[in-house]
Amino acid sequence: MIRLTRRYRFAASHRLHSPALSEEANQELYGKCNNPYGHGHDYILEITARGPVDQESGLLMNVAALDGLVERRVLDEFRMSYLNDSASFAGARVPTTENLVEEIRARLGDGWGETFSAPWPVLEKVRIRETRKNTFETMVSHS
């Protein structure tokens, strides 16, 4: 088995604000991240896939196909956007980077089968570096 990790970069803004909470509770919970007009980051998204190396091509996967999937399902909408405007973060779903990781995992999971033929490669990990100090990641279960 080999693992391949590809990095993507996108700039976007967000505001952490829960409609279920009062103004005061939002300010107390989210602090500066609750400022009314939002704020932005240069997000670094890392996608890891796992599988055997194909004996004929020497490749785990077609990286250009992964780039296309990530572009269509993620970057095209989120790049240079206010994440709160996305239908994915309408209502009570706050665009925390935890929720952004989950959203990207779900989007790539939905598009994976049309991009790669089963059983390999599989999506193994989604990781986002929000700032140099804050990183969020989730492993993808295939059980």
Binding site: I2, L4, T5, R7, S57
Partner: protein, 138 residues
Amino acid sequence: MLITRKAEFSASHACYRSDWSAERNREVYGASANPRGHGHNYVLEVTLEGTPDRETGMVLDLKDLKEILNREVVEPFDHRFLNHEVPPFNRVIPTTENIAVEIWRRLEPHFGNGGPRLHRVRLWETEDLFVDFHGEAS
């Protein structure tokens, strides 16, 4: 405990199978199929797993690891066209995946036997792409 040492080498490679048509090569390998080759500044991170020696406090003297990396990887790979100058890449396509596996094969015999064991080879092809290999078993 895990310890990691980094090494760098610059080399060129071409991902191209002569038994495939130009179209098929282009479809599978994209621009990397140019048989004249292109280069990268590869960054290698090698991680060993072991227990610090009671006397020295070290898993392995990093100088020794540096010498092994130089001898097995940096000296033979640096400033070479991998397909033409570094076996087995005359017959194994030097994709990043295959280069990582070959580096594992070269390093693995130096470890184990009661000492630290090779845990991971991570090979960065660019700042935005790397592969990890933990051996055939995992």
